[in-house]
Symmetry: C2
Subunit: 201 residues, 2 copies
């Protein structure tokens, strides 16, 4: 029991710390989404958590690191969506539709935010986030290509399908309000239908 306590205690600490760090980032990300990165001060972030500006620096190196982690979290979630697909069971069109639906639900249901302010990141951080975004876009482009190969998606530059697609997501993220009249699932239904029709032959 003494041993159990010895082992458990430091573990709990780390979990606590990680959880609080995560809540800092999620709360900040939500503010960044609503007001923008530069219109959100460290004081704002701290206050919305009942803390002081200085306390944030116990969890985080920089303001920029918060932005980086916000982006990273979002793209990690999107990666999960992409990984959870069983690639060969569906037509390209159905696969794209499923991914799109999951993305819309991710942005409306869980608190994940798709941020646009990549240019406030510098150097390596910026490169990493852009690379991650590109990776995701390329993955989706591949799905479109599969759909064109199996005949379920119209011909045309696959990148343009994906840009259209990503545009809807980014904009959704900007106007969607959890408290608003439009419910996440309805939005998903509409968007998915519009996408499906837009890409079929």
């Amino acid at each position: 029991m003494t041993q159990a306590a010895n082992i458990k205690a430091p573990f709990d600490r780390d979990v606590q710390f990680a959880a609080k760090r995560r809540s800092v980032i999620l709360s900040a990300a939500s503010a960044f989404r609503r007001r923008g990165y530069h219109n959100t001060s460290m004081v704002d972030i701290a206050q919305s958590l009942g803390l002081t500006k200085a306390a944030l620096y116990y969890y985080v190196k920089n303001k920029e690191e918060i932005l980086y982690e916000s982006h990273a979290m979002t793209y990690a979630s999107m990666d999960e969506v992409l990984q959870s697909q069983q690639p060969n069971e569906l037509s390209g069109r159905d696969a794209l539709e499923a991914v799109f639906r999951n993305f819309v639900e991710l942005l409306t249901q869980s608190g994940v935010s798709l941020l646009t302010d990549v240019d406030s990141l510098k150097g390596e951080w910026k490169l990493q986030i852009l690379a991650h975004r590109n990776k995701i876009e390329r993955h989706v482009i591949e799905i479109v290509k599969c759909g064109q190969a199996d005949g379920s998606i119209r011909s045309g530059d696959p990148r343009l399908y994906v840009f259209f697609f990503m545009g809807a997501l980014n904009w959704l993220n900007a106007w969607y309000d959890v408290e608003g009249r439009l419910k996440g699932e309805d939005i998903a239904d509409h968007f998915v239908l519009q996408l499906r029709q837009g890409i079929m032959k």
Copy 2:
């Protein structure tokens, strides 16, 4: 002739001034689009015009005023597009398609930028820009409703059609590069087709 000169001289001055002021705003708007409002300093704006920071204040009251005028110019151009439509000659779908094509061409061909950073405007300025944007959105929503009434557009919440639509435009504006491989007209063709199919029955 003396009179002609007297009349002409002050007029020329105003034209010069207005033209230079306009070029300040256009140049700044382009930088805002590429790097973001807060990542663009007054020095940056001045340098790209071969001027000094201080000289900008001869043409403009504020940095915020530049942002305001950037937004205002864009929405004025979009208004022109909407006004140039002959409403009753086309089906709703065709009208929407025409508007969308013109918007895409506006953003790719002329230097007009659709900025997202409304939250960096304060008070009355912010309200005016939001009102202008709403007005345009409502206009487009009306077109969608016409299309639903005349049977050329599928049923469904008209706002969602417009959000999808606006998302594509905003995102286009973020990634489009005049120097890039994708040519404006091709993008317009693709986007219009995807929209058309996406909204028809």
